[in-house]
């Protein structure tokens, strides 16, 4: 049974999703049990993967360039641990809400299962299919409270996501026309021959795939769906989106660049300069737009564009230090942004308003949650004992080593702007008394207590994670180093 583990990691949330639709009473137990099973399976794989040889699983017994295989190597393991860990915390956070019926857990489980599918598969068309499945589940999750703004935000995301994935599919078409196979490792073997014969088609396919992924990562010109979608969604879904779903786009970009197109081709069309420029522009754009936002969740959504710009700068630099910083920042941003969105969810339900002005006095009433919010926002700014500092420092160091000083200046400016808007929120939190009392349904003490228990423990765990990774950054870097050494130094088989 142990060789079947990779497919079981994908199938167990999917099976639980369809079983959740059939039963109303056991939906939460099924959801958490399936995700915990997947986490346990992933951890059993990790010892074998981290010792250097990747786990391959051929679906249906078809091997070679004809069949679909699942490949778990260090990069996939790293991303899948982030996805599953945060997925479990999102499910725990959304447990106390009574309005979330079976459809909500079904969509959540399908989206988590298809994320693991995108990460583990080695067949590029299969990656497209799982990515479309993920996008469909996320469009429905955003529109789950069927209010006017959520429907419009979901429709906006649908159109732009659909266009982006069509670009991705067209790029896959060009790759198939040149090489005749769909398995990523076999394409990498056959691509140099095709590159010599028709260089323009290779470049065209790379540009199409990168544009498609750029729409999903929300780099600067293609970011239009992100503020509405991430801010209007319900809070656990916002954490899922900002924390994990955009990271899947980054994973696809890294996988296509390093496994399918080898690094030499990437440098030939000087795309690393383009990535650094786009990263810098997203950085400034996200920071400036977040400064003027009045709505708390829109501020956090623009902050996501900000941080992803930093990851793109790290990826564009491409040295070992830059890649380590970029992947470490992916992990840190996932943890920090989820903490912030979870806290924002509690703040919005307790004070009844989404604006930053209305949160005054919340800090005095719930000091523990405010402390977690402060820890996470210090990390986003990049202040030393929290993990955000370690990853930003690594990227700045990599930029200086490689000779790019301008991005370092911009990163520092953007961190200052980030300090401005986060401190504005913290100042309001500790301001005067609560202007608006708690919601009438929460007046009984028992109701507040039980809801807060399930909602606050994920926040405490994530904030503790921020502090831990910040005080011992070597722990985080040791998680990232196998992935980076795989990307840069191993020969593609």
């Amino acid at each position: 049974m142990s060789i079947h583990i990779p497919i079981l990691i994908i199938i167990s949330p999917l099976l639980a999703a369809f079983l959740v639709l059939l039963s109303r009473k056991y939906k939460i137990i099924l959801a958490t049990a399936s995700i915990i099973t997947s986490i346990v399976f992933t951890l059993t794989l990790s010892s074998r993967v981290l010792s250097g040889d990747k786990v391959t699983y051929h679906l249906g017994g078809w091997r070679g360039p004809l069949g679909i295989s699942l490949v778990v190597d260090e990069l996939s393991l790293f991303f899948s641990l982030i996805v599953l860990g945060l997925g479990l915390l999102v499910i725990v956070y959304s447990m106390p809400e009574r309005n979330y019926g079976r459809t909500y857990y079904f969509l959540l489980l399908v989206s988590l299962s298809s994320m693991i599918g995108v990460i583990y598969t080695a067949d590029i068309f299969n990656m497209y299919v799982f990515y479309e499945l993920l996008s469909l589940a996320v469009y429905l999750l955003i529109a789950y409270p069927k209010t006017g703004v959520t429907l419009r935000a979901s429709f906006n995301y649908l159109i732009m996501g659909g266009v982006g994935l069509s670009f991705f599919l067209l790029g896959i078409g060009f790759l198939y026309a040149m090489t005749g196979t769909l398995d990523m490792f076999h394409i990498a073997g056959r691509l140099p021959a095709a590159f010599d014969s028709s260089m323009q088609m290779v470049i065209m396919s790379f540009v199409l795939i990168a544009t498609g992924m750029g729409i999903k990562i929300a780099v600067f010109p293609l970011h239009g769906w992100l503020p509405d979608a991430h801010s209007m969604a319900p809070s656990p879904v916002s954490a899922l989106l900002s924390g994990i779903t955009v990271k899947i786009g980054i994973y696809c970009l890294i996988r296509v660049v390093y496994t399918v197109f080898s690094t030499e081709m990437f440098l030939l069309i000087s795309s690393h300069n383009i990535l650094i420029v786009l990263g810098v522009v997203s950085l400034l754009f996200g920071a400036s737009m977040a400064l003027v936002q009045k709505d708390l969740k829109r501020l956090l959504a623009y902050s996501t564009i900000n941080q992803l710009g930093i990851v793109l700068i790290g990826l564009g630099i491409g040295t070992e230090l830059g890649l380590t910083g970029a992947l470490f920042h992916v992990l840190n941003h996932a943890i920090m942004k989820s903490t912030l969105f979870f806290c924002a969810g509690i703040m919005i339900t307790e004070t009844g308003t989404r604006e930053v002005k209305g949160l005054s006095g919340f800090g005095r009433q719930q000091p523990a949650i405010t402390f977690a919010f402060i820890v996470a926002s210090l990390g986003m700014i990049g202040i030393p004992p929290i993990n955000g500092f370690a990853s930003k420092w690594l990227i700045c160091l990599a930029a200086v080593e490689a000779g790019y000083t301008f991005p370092v200046v911009i990163i520092l400016i953007a961190s200052t702007i980030a300090a401005a808007y986060y401190f504005r929120v913290i100042q309001v939190l500790f301001g005067g008394s609560l202007k608006q009392g708690p919601m009438p349904a929460h007046e009984g003490e028992q109701v507040i207590h039980r809801g807060n228990l399930f909602r606050s423990w994920p926040i405490y765990i994530l904030a503790a994670g921020c502090l831990l990774l910040g005080l011992l950054p070597a722990l985080g870097i040791s998680l990232v180093k196998p992935a980076v050494s795989l990307l840069l130094f191993h020969v593609v088989p």
Binding site: R152, F155, L158
Partner: protein, 115 residues
């Protein structure tokens, strides 16, 4: 005008439709046109000169390994892509029905002015 060039032209037409039409349903139509053009692209990639359809019929004469058939793999991939396109279109139309019942308009300029 090979089929590949025509499919890329139709892809651009679909992209123009998504970007510049104001009505929500016309945007969905643009997205469907883009999906259709990708189907045409993949299938025209799989064409081999003088190839038959990849179906083994009863009483096929001649040596089986030397018959030239068109590539069946893009056709199988496009079945999946068509299904995905239908699901996205169905979801988008369901969202449009709900948006219309709430706002009574389908014009995206007016919808973006709503608060």
């Amino acid at each position: 005008m090979t089929p590949i060039n025509i499919s890329l032209l139709v892809f651009m037409i679909g992209l123009y439709g998504v970007m510049s039409k104001n009505n929500l349903i016309k945007k969905i139509m643009g997205l469907t046109i883009m999906n259709g053009s990708i189907v045409l692209f993949f299938i025209s990639i799989g064409y081999r000169k003088g190839g038959l359809a990849p179906i083994l019929e009863k009483g096929t004469t001649g040596d089986i390994p030397t018959i030239i058939v068109v590539d069946p793999l893009p056709q199988a991939l496009m079945l999946t892509a068509i299904v995905i396109g239908i699901s996205v279109t169905a979801l988008a139309l369901a969202l449009i029905v709900k948006i219309y019942s709430k706002y009574k308009t389908l014009d995206i300029q007016q919808l973006s002015k709503e608060r």
